[in-house]
């Protein structure tokens, strides 16, 4: 397929991207959070929208499709009559700009969950309003491992438009990946220079260079199958030994999608709200009777890993749920490293297989 792409200079890029809010879009771009960390924020500031940023944001952009908390409906009771009112939904276009390839891939994993049959309407509505502009990575941080899970620092999965800042030259390669993407660009794209084969090749080389700077080892082939068979492996206790059972990893993760539903308010009026929930919490699976199918922290940690690397892939044609952004590694209070943990488990399972093949007791 012929690639559609344009080469913009910084002025052109800023003029176009910076004008998105004025055209009625709600624009979410990377900004500085309270501690100087990068954080996706709603902004109208053209500089901020166009600026770009090193590394990745601390939290993933998922909250713009799957909010931390969201009201499903409000209810009012009068006598025996109930009225349910759904909160209004915005019809404004939402543009997520500056997502890293792993971030956009993470949103695709959320799609698998929320756009299945039946689709979650609140999510679907937001999703349909959203355009994703991915910005290729120019560097990898020590926790990055997208290449180990099938991604790439130049990846386009989940992108509508794709931006590569071509090394130091001030030239920006903008590619339309989907119809939605080219429509967003259509107002201005006539005045931009078409990108050449050489430009695409340069972007490719750049992604390649970033890829090869990632030191983290690829996962073994058949990792899902290996993990599947290691549910009872003693290694789970080891990799989870430091886990304190907070929810940071799941809340920072671009693809973690679990939620809780709770009513607030009284008998006369109130609302039903869904909020992020975490499989790391002991309450997550606890029955009213007190029985808990996952009574230990190691079982909860195993669930998170198995979900990402075994259950989800088996339900979705082998696709891993983890996109290798490394956020959970950076933020884990106990320094647990998911990439190392998967390698350890898969490695142990492989050794066990080999042992079994050779008739060695394992």
């Amino acid at each position: 397929m012929e690639q559609a792409g344009w080469i913009l200079d910084e002025e052109q890029w800023k003029a176009w991207a910076g004008s998105l809010p004025a055209s009625g879009c709600r624009v979410i771009a990377p900004a500085r959070g309270p501690r100087g960390e990068a954080a996706f924020t709603k902004t109208d500031d053209a500089d901020q929208i166009a600026r770009g940023y090193p590394g990745k944001t601390q939290m993933s952009p998922k909250e713009f499709l799957f909010p931390r908390s969201e009201t499903l409906f409000e209810f009012r009771l009068a006598g025996n009559t109930v009225t349910l009112v759904r909160p209004p939904r915005s019809d404004n276009k939402q543009v997520l700009i500056g997502l890293r390839p792993c971030d956009a891939a993470g949103l695709r994993r959320l799609d698998e969950v929320f756009l299945q049959d039946p689709a979650d309407e609140a999510y679907e509505h937001r999703r349909n309003q959203t355009v994703v502009i991915v910005e290729a990575c120019t560097e990898a941080t020590p926790s990055c491992f997208c290449t180990a899970v099938g991604g790439s620092p130049g990846g386009t999965e989940g992108a509508d438009l794709h931006v590569t800042r071509l090394g130091g030259s001030g030239r920006i390669l903008l590619r339309a990946i989907t119809q939605t993407g080219s429509e967003l660009a259509s107002a201005a794209s006539a005045s931009w220079a078409r990108a050449t084969e050489a430009d695409f090749a340069e972007a490719g080389d750049q992604a390649e260079a970033v890829s090869s700077s990632i030191r983290r080892q690829p996962l073994p082939a058949r990792t899902p199958e290996l993990l599947e068979g290691s549910f009872e492996a003693p290694e789970w206790e080891v990799v989870a030994s430091a886990c304190i059972g907070c929810g940071i990893c799941t809340y920072a993760c671009p693809s973690c999608s679990c939620f809780d539903i709770a009513d607030t308010g009284g008998a006369a009026c109130g609302s039903r709200c869904r909020s992020w929930d975490s499989c790391a919490f002991g309450e997550f699976t606890k029955h009213a009777s007190g029985h808990n199918p996952r009574p230990k922290q190691s079982a909860r940690y195993r669930q998170r890993l198995m979900h990402k690397f075994a259950y989800f892939p088996s339900q979705h044609a082998g696709q891993l749920m983890c996109v290798g952004c490394g956020r959970c590694i950076d933020l884990c209070p106990a320094g647990i490293d998911i990439h190392q943990a998967v390698l350890a488990l898969a490695g142990a399972a492989r050794a066990a297989h080999r042992g079994a093949d050779e008739g060695v007791p394992v």
Binding site: G33, P34, R35, G36, E37, Q58, M59, R68, S69, P142, S143, S241, A242, I244, G245, C246, G247, I248, Y251, A252, D260, A262, T264, C273, S275, W276, S278, F281, E283, I329, D330, L331, P333, A334, G335, I336, D337, H339, Q340
Partner: protein
């Protein structure tokens, strides 16, 4: 803002705002006092809803929070006079706890005119009626309590807090770290070989160099994994509890050992279950930044230590190093900056902080002193802390966390370190601890035998109760 009825005009005029005040009274004195006022036909403003408790000692700060959350403009807590408590001392504990709660609400920017405390006996009908008049006037002056739930529009963000000054010490040298590491490994090996402990919990290199990770060492050979350096951030005390099968040697910084003392004090750990290996620590460092808690830390190696390990070797017992440089705690400067703000700006600041809370409960999970089986936030009959990750629930969560740790927090600052939202939990803890020290003269002690400030009282404690 709705129209405010002028004081003394009968308060409850149609269409005008009338303050809603919730009074929590004890059953034995104050409730009877209120009753007495009624029987004696003393007039007092009708804006008060009374919630009767058996004792003012039952007053949980959550009750006040819930009242504010549900729209109360003012809260009054009233109990028996000191010495008259039906349960002898419930009101004396209450006095301390509520005093600290009021401090916290002040820090958070709640208008002090909304929170009142009083002693009213069963015969003091007149005092009750005067009290209600006074409280109502005070709440009227403060106006409707809209701001408690208002969206944050903070002018002042944590980025504007004063930067810490230059650290009083330098980071340890590589050689010093290497020496300490090697002594630690030797000691660990020996403790395991001699069977004195069945595991050593310390630090090891993680996959990323910026943070050392907890290491659970169970064999002498495995002791080679242990390391010591200024990036050993985590407080490992948590990991020592609920372990069966032999004692645990725990590598502890001085601040961590205070948590061990706390766990011993509160019977979460037995002294014979843990061997405290104190490390001679010159502070933990994030790059060239010394952690705030370390600036003023003048104690090297906890008195609780069974072993002291430093660059110079290993010794039995606690051997504090002499002559340590300290400088003022940077958290105090930040608190001063906050306290110089007008209350509404302070409120906006903290609401901005709490608004970012994602309720990951990392602060709770990492805290060695948070060990309840089921946290109050996970209880939903009734649901004290509302579940949505926003507004009132976030504020309640943060207030409750702070209150449960008041007087018990061992100042390891782990909650602030791990909070992914960078909420200044360290300032809240510090402020409460400083208030407790000022009022009751005690900091949380490194000695497990010393009671914490809010689990004791003096008959003559000062406080806001009138």
């Amino acid at each position: 803002m709705s129209k405010v009825a002028p004081a003394g005009s009968g308060y409850q005029t149609a269409g005008e705002w009338a303050p809603r005040i919730v009074a929590f009274t004890c059953n034995w004195c104050s409730y009877s006092g209120a009753d007495m006022a009624g029987t004696a036909r003393l007039t007092y403003p009708a804006n008060v809803r009374i919630v009767r408790m058996l004792c003012s000692g039952r007053m949980d700060p959550l009750f006040a929070l819930k009242a504010f959350e549900e729209g109360a403009d003012g809260v009054l807590v009233s109990g028996c006079h000191p010495g008259d408590c039906h349960y002898v001392q419930g009101n004396l504990y209450a006095r301390r706890r509520l005093e600290i709660f009021a401090d916290l609400m002040e820090l958070l920017g709640l208008d002090p005119r909304r929170l009142h405390f009083a002693w009213v006996s069963a015969s003091e009908g007149v005092k009750w009626s005067e009290l209600i008049g006074r409280v109502t006037r005070s709440v009227l002056e403060a106006g409707p309590n809209g701001e408690w739930l208002s969206a944050p529009t903070a002018e002042f963000s944590s980025a504007k807090l004063p930067e810490p000054g230059p650290p009083p010490r330098t980071a340890p040298t590589r050689d010093a770290n290497a020496a300490t590491t090697s002594h630690l490994r030797q000691l660990a090996r020996r403790l395991l070989e001699e069977g004195e402990v069945s595991r050593v919990i310390g630090y090891a290199e993680g996959a990323q160099s910026d943070q050392m990770v907890p290491a659970f060492v169970e064999t002498p050979e495995d002791a080679e994994r242990l390391v010591w350096n200024e990036r050993c951030y985590a407080n490992l005390a948590n990991y020592a509890v609920h372990r069966s099968g032999g004692a645990t040697a725990l590598i502890a910084k001085t601040c961590d050992a205070k948590s061990i003392a706390g766990l011993l004090r509160e019977n979460q750990l037995r002294r014979d279950e843990v061997v405290v290996v104190g490390v001679s620590c010159s502070g933990i460092w994030h790059g060239d930044r010394l952690a705030a808690k370390c600036y003023g830390c003048d104690e090297d190696v906890s008195p609780l230590a069974d072993w002291t390990v430093g660059p110079d070797g290993t010794a039995r017992g606690s051997i504090p190093a002499a002559g340590r440089d300290t400088s003022p705690d940077p958290r105090d400067a930040a608190l001063e900056a906050l306290s110089s703000l007008p209350p509404d700006e302070r409120l906006a600041f903290w609401q901005g902080e709490f608004d970012r809370c994602i309720r990951c409960y990392a602060c709770r999970a990492v805290c060695p002193m948070c060990y309840c089986d089921t946290c109050i936030t996970d209880k939903h009959r009734p649901q004290w802390i509302s579940a949505p990750q926003s507004g009132p629930g976030n504020t309640s969560w943060n207030v409750v966390r702070a209150m449960h740790l008041a007087g018990r927090c061992s100042d390891c600052d782990e909650c602030a370190r791990v909070c992914p939202s960078g909420i200044r939990l360290d300032l809240i803890n510090r402020s409460l601890a400083q208030g407790i020290k000022r009022k009751y003269g005690t900091m949380v002690s490194a000695d497990p035998a010393v009671k914490t400030a809010l689990t004791t009282y003096r008959p003559d404690d000062a406080g806001r109760f009138v």
